[in-house]
């Protein structure tokens, strides 16, 4: 469902160019739970952001469900993010003034769902993450692990095809980290593809696929050769 061909990303500042991603080829299939590991600064977050269309890229191509994201308008990209992709950040990124319910409801609003449909989905997501009883709490009233579960609920409420998680347990102690991992596994078993950045070798082992990135290059047997029939060249 995710297919990346020869993708490169360069950060340019006035003084230096950073090659954050170099000629990456990657394919992630439906239903996979893939862990992405690598040293700090190796380009993990950059890759995730590119996959989440939060970041553009310089060369190569990125196909989501067989469709290139190149040349999509802001509106199309937003819709794509909204419908197909769920984000989970290391820092939760919840809106403090909002109740749990309102936080989870936010992306559903951009989708144009009716109030009833939003309610149904929010409640279901809250149920999934085990926080149904606290729908009117505010994030500050929750522990870190609970907050991350709210963020997960927000990510899955729109029933995305793929969850992109950037060190979702990075800010949590080991007990809470385990709870969050179990939750992600449960979501994966329900059919949602997950790509997760992690520093924790245990977590990486629990995933059913392990992708390593070093210095902007993928470095393991999970590299896929681009198929000859696929367009390769930028702008194709």
């Amino acid at each position: 469902m995710i297919k990346i061909n020869n993708l490169s990303k360069i950060f340019r500042t006035d003084l230096i160019e950073t090659h954050a991603l170099r000629q990456i080829n990657l394919q992630v299939n439906e239903g996979e739970f893939a862990a992405l590991t690598g040293p700090s600064g190796s380009g993990k977050s950059t890759l995730l952001n590119v996959l989440g269309t939060l970041e553009s890229f310089d060369q190569g191509d990125y196909l989501l469900d067989g469709r290139s994201v190149k040349g999509l308008s802001d509106r199309e990209l937003s819709a794509l993010r909204n419908e197909k992709i769920g984000f989970i950040f290391q820092g939760f990124n919840l809106i403090k003034d909002f109740s749990l319910f309102d936080n989870i409801e936010l992306p559903l609003r951009y989708r144009g769902f009716s109030a009833a449909e939003r309610k149904r989905r929010v409640e279901q997501a809250l149920e999934t993450v085990g926080l149904a009883a606290r729908r009117d709490y505010h994030p500050s009233q929750l522990s870190g692990g609970q907050q991350q579960r709210v963020a997960i609920a927000r990510a899955i409420a729109g029933e995305p095809r793929i969850l992109l998680a950037d060190e979702p347990t990075g800010n949590l102690d080991s007990l809470m980290a385990r709870q969050v991992m179990e939750l992600l596994e449960k979501i994966n078993q329900q059919g949602c593809t997950i790509l997760m950045v992690t520093h924790d070798p245990d977590q990486a082992r629990r995933a059913n696929r392990h992708i390593q990135i070093v210095d902007g290059q993928l470095n393991d047997a999970t590299m896929y050769e681009p198929l000859a029939s696929e367009p390769l060249v930028a702008g194709a």
Binding site: S45, N49, D74, D97, P107, Y110
Partner: protein, 438 residues
Amino acid sequence: MEALLHNLKLSWFSIKRAPLPYALTLLILSLGLGTFFSNATLYYWMNRDPIPQKSATLFMARINSTPGDCTDCFEPPRVMSYMDMQKMSGSGIPSAEAAMFSSDAYAKTVENQQATPSQVELRVTQRDFFKLFDVPFLHGETWPDNKARMEVVISKNTALKFFSRTDVVGQEMLIDDKLYKVIGVLDDWAMLPRLYDVNGRRSAEPAEDIYIPLETAYDLAIQSNTQNSYFDVDWDGNMATYPQMARTNFANQLQFWVQLDSPEKVQQYQQFLKNLVADEKAAGRHTRPESNKLDNILDVQKAMRATNEQLDAFALVASLFLLVCVVNASHLSLNRYMANQYEFSLRRALGASRWQLQGQILADVLFSSVLAFAAALLFAQLGLWTINSLLPSTRALAGWDWQMVAVMALFVVLISYLVTLYPALKTSFSPLNQQLKQ
């Protein structure tokens, strides 16, 4: 609708997060707007067409008839003499014509003779005045001709003030201790600016209280309180001889207005004035060069050099001040948006398009507009009081009609949007990845 409410709620949250910077932004914005509005109000009233349905047909007529030999004096006197006015009237060309000047007096009712009289503003004029300027009557009507008669037309407020009712036709009043009969009561009427009386810059004042026939005023030596110019007049000051003196000398105090319903009529009346001056010259009068003026009512302020430069200067300063305030408010609002950048990026990551973010920004604008509008009206009212006390002659111009209020409201929304525009664009177009990194 539901989305709007949601966005308004979000705006409220973001205000609550940093109420002080927001209040400051709003204060600066509404100060600028308020100052601007108070000046714009005066400017609007001073420069509007007070009688659009017939302004094209109303003219003030003057001839260059002043004694003395001056070959390069082309500017006729601002006010006409009685003799010249008589010659300029009665041509049959205008569909209405009236000479006039303003004065003041003390008035009381006959029943209440013991009371201390109140000061009233007088308009000394002729029968056609009310027709010229579309003045509505509530009761009674104008004088049947231009002869002297002890009869007055009074304003509605004057009727209410002296008689506590409006239907007072036939009642009597003492004006400067002379007994007059009320023959007409006007309905509510205001002409702003009062372009029939730009002389002496009094056009911003309210309409007069009492209207007195011109001939009566000459008989009773009621004189103009605006401009009374005597040219080569040899008069001993004996009031008994005033009526005769004022009617036969260059004792100039009259503004003479005509209604000319078509360009042909204007042409004809101009020709009439030309012929008149030729006759006068032939008779050895009108020694100055011919220089007849027939100024349209909308040009009369300029022609009489009675435009209010102070007001123009104020308006300029207020516009500049608004500009400064807008720039400052925009800067403050940029800071506010930058502080909220994280939330905007988060929403984009959750799938809001830039377009959907505009909805949020519009809600912000709406919110600030309502608050800024209320505050700006307050400041504008304060500003008007200040200006009115600096320039008392503008006091009639302080009001707003609902159209002005609507225009001001629209203006506030526009300015608020302008103030938010740059910050909004900057926040919606900034790169997404950095903000969410923690």
